[in-house]
């Protein structure tokens, strides 16, 4: 009996060992998991999921990327947590800029991508200022950005408001609100209050000294919000939210704001060009007779567009194995192929300054009237500044700003008190 047990045990051990060997040898595919928020209902999924599918098809039998779904507002925190646990994924898209600058770069937690750029002549296509921003003092390149710049503006429902022969570039916010009448703007206070942040950013940009303030605090975050340009802009925002905010704005997350617009409850929503895809076809998101064909894209009133080219995108953590680094580099190069950049611009809008567009792209772009209109709304006089979220510290931008908005809307906080609260909170979060 004992002999039988020993034989069975040995056989089982042998089978387990053999199965491991055969798994590693027979397959030969390097499989990696990529945590991302650009899946499912997220607007970024329209481009990103097919991109990963194309990558997997192009490298079939060699590499395979599986997407792990995260929500957008938890992505940066999740990456930081994984960083603290020394368990970062093989490829990361952006992340908390303060964490990157104060922790990742000083501690050499990344793979230098300067070699990848030089070996593949990527400077022929990358935006110089983006590469410069991503280059450390000792000449290492932290991350590579898709070389597309995407100034953000707004969308309005042409069946609800009529600007006549004017565009938002010709109108101030006051004039735009007059045209808007009783129609609503899709504001939100939940998550990072994204659509509200964009409107506030444009209001600050047209105040005296506002554009300079926004442009000068993307690296060293703003700690003092008690500045006339911000207080004035917050006062205007308060009035707009009180008089032209949708009924669901308090507590609304991005999906609620988008739903307000695509159900005709709001006539205006501030957002980036990536939202164009939502207006191309119903997809179950439209209601109350909303028609995507009525949507018009424009810059924000005051001729303001929001863009921050100073950012981080694809980077590889130093903890990635050699095989994982190989996949990550292959994926980065794949995203920089002309057809993929053009697919990106078609899906999410934007301009690639160094790219000579292909005929196919020009033909396809001209078919998407809304995207064409949105992208070309920017003119030589447009004030292009970073969004207000880019100048806030992480917890202020992600939570506290949205938490204070209900008090601003209800009038419990004056604009001055609102800015004072932001200042106190910013100083509380500052590292000592």
């Amino acid at each position: 009996m004992k002999l039988f047990q020993k034989l069975v045990s040995l056989a089982l051990i042998l089978m387990m060992a053999l199965s491991l060997v055969s798994f590693a040898a027979a397959d030969g595919v390097v499989e990696v998991t990529l945590p991302t928020y650009k899946t499912g209902e997220n607007v970024g999924a329209i481009f990103f999921e097919p991109l990963v599918e194309r990558f997997n098809a192009a490298y079939e039998g060699k590499y395979h990327i599986t997407l792990e779904e995260l929500t957008q507002d938890m992505y940066t925190d999740k990456i930081k947590q994984l960083g603290a646990a020394n368990a970062l994924p093989f490829l990361i898209e952006g992340g908390d800029t303060e964490w990157i600058k104060q922790v990742v770069i000083p501690n050499d937690m990344f793979v230098d991508l300067s070699g990848l750029i030089a070996d593949n002549n990527l400077m022929d296509i990358l935006i110089d200022s983006q590469v410069a921003y991503n280059t450390t003092e000792d000449g290492k390149v932290f991350s590579i950005c898709v070389p597309v710049t995407r100034p953000m503006g707004l969308y309005y429902n042409g069946s609800m408001i009529n600007l006549g022969d004017k565009t938002c570039a010709d109108l101030s916010w006051d004039e735009f609100i007059a045209v808007l009448g009783d129609n609503k703007i899709a504001f939100m206070t939940g998550e990072n209050a994204w659509t509200t942040q964009l409107v506030l950013g444009s209001l600050i940009a047209v105040e005296e000294g506002g554009a300079e303030l926004l442009s000068s605090h993307t690296i060293d975050k703003l700690m003092d919000y008690n500045q006339p340009c911000i207080i004035n802009a917050v006062a205007k925002l308060q009035k707009m939210m009180q008089e032209n905010g949708t009924s669901n704005q308090i507590g609304a997350v991005y999906a609620d704001a988008a739903n307000a617009f695509m159900s005709g409850n709001a006539a205006v929503i501030a957002n980036g060009s990536w939202m164009v895809g939502d207006f191309a076809e119903d997809g179950g998101k439209w209601s109350n007779g909303f028609n995507g064909a009525d949507v018009r894209g424009d810059v924000l009133p005051g001729n303001v567009a929001l863009a921050n080219n100073d950012g981080f995108q694809y980077w590889i953590p130093a903890s990635a194995t050699a095989e994982q680094q190989e996949v990550a580099k292959a994926f980065i190069l794949f995203t920089l192929q002309q057809d993929n950049i053009e697919a990106y611009m078609l899906a999410e809008g934007g301009v690639a300054p160094k790219l000579t567009p292909s005929e196919e792209y020009v033909a396809a772009a001209s078919k998407n009237k809304l995207l064409y209109e949105y992208v070309n709304a920017v003119n030589a006089d447009t004030i292009i500044v970073p969004n207000v979220g880019d100048i806030m510290t992480s917890s202020i931008g992600n939570t506290e700003f949205g938490n204070l908005l209900p008090l601003l809307i209800s009038g419990e906080l004056t604009p001055e008190a609102f800015c004072q609260q932001l200042t106190v909170l910013a100083q509380e979060t500052a590292l000592d």
């Binding site: 930081k80 507590g251 939570t399 938490n403 209900p406 419990e412 909170l425 509380e428 000592d432």
Partner: protein, 312 residues
């Protein structure tokens, strides 16, 4: 009663006992190891780094300049106490603890007593009351977000039947937000009900029979026999409920996020916010404060409910 339970012949162990020592230590070792690695070490690390300048990624830095205690060694604690959200967090903790001790435990005890008495439909009540317990706190918080929604929420729509002009932003205005968060947990006292029911079932039948012979009413039995004999269960329930308030996170983070302003902040929210801003020293100081609150709560409840004294 002798307190000497071990050792004979002048306190020395017998040979047989001595021979069993290696085995005793051998069997205890895994437990002690797990306790040391997963309990003692993290608590020690948290304690030590709560005095450090620590971003969670680079080695912590301590300043041992004791001449300026507030500015150096106790920097994280002084910073925590001076935070705008600290006052509301403590105020909320006190109120929620009070509500937990009275309403929450009261409801759970009442349900426990009802189930114990096996009134008609008790099995149905038991199942219905248990169901919320198998749903995570996070899921409940999300459900409550919809229930309290001003546009589509069932609660506001019911209120509007009485007052059509009513628009309460439950999670986003004060003091409604405090109560809205309270409603996400206060009624779900399944653990309390189960613990109390366990003690009720352990009461000897002879006690109840004696009461009945003496002509005691059902209410008198409850007040003079059942509840006093459930003292330990109720004490345990109060302890669990209050410590849950100290650590409460999802119910706040997934609803009001501490707002409006900082009106519904909790210590756990301050802790996670500090981590978000990668200020782990401050986060660990908050964790230590929560730890101390937990220990103090345990001591107070142990004394008040005389948890170490025999009930019978």
């Amino acid at each position: 009663m002798s307190t000497v339970r071990r050792g004979r012949k002048g306190g020395k162990y017998t040979l047989m006992e001595k021979r069993s020592f290696p085995w005793i230590y051998a069997f205890l070792f895994p437990t002690l190891l797990l306790f040391a690695v997963f309990y003692v070490e993290p608590i020690f690390q948290t304690f030590v780094t709560s005095f450090a300048r620590f971003n969670g990624y680079t080695p912590p830095q301590w300043s041992l300049d004791f001449s300026d205690l507030g500015g150096t060694i106790f920097r994280n604690y002084t910073r925590l106490f001076s935070m705008n959200s600290f006052g509301p967090a403590i105020r909320n903790l006190l109120w929620w603890s009070l509500i937990a001790m009275t309403v929450h435990v009261g409801i759970g005890t009442a349900v426990g007593v009802l189930l114990y008495n096996r009134l008609r439909g008790w099995k149905f009540v038991r199942i219905v009351y248990m169901v919320p317990n198998v749903i995570s706190g996070a899921a409940w918080a999300m459900i409550y977000r919809f229930m309290f929604n001003d546009d589509i929420g069932v609660i506001n729509n019911l209120i509007r039947r009485l007052d059509p002009s009513s628009h309460i932003q439950w999670f986003y205005s004060s003091p409604a937000a405090f109560w809205a968060i309270t409603f996400t947990w206060v009624f779900y006292a399944v653990i309390v009900a189960l613990v109390v029911m366990g003690d009720l079932m352990a009461i000897p039948a002879s006690l109840h029979e004696a009461c009945e012979i003496d002509g005691a009413s059902g209410f008198q039995k409850l007040i003079h026999i059942d509840l006093p004999l459930c003292r330990n269960a109720i004490g345990t329930s109060v302890l669990l409920s209050v410590t849950s308030r100290i650590a409460m996170y999802e119910n706040i983070a997934l609803t009001s996020r501490g707002g409006p302003g900082n009106d519904t902040y909790g210590l756990a929210l301050i802790l996670t916010k500090s981590i978000t801003d990668f200020n782990y020293g401050l986060a660990n100081a908050t964790a230590m404060l929560m730890f101390v609150f937990g220990i103090v709560t345990m001591q107070i409840i142990n004394r008040v409910f005389r948890m170490n004294d025999p009930v019978y």
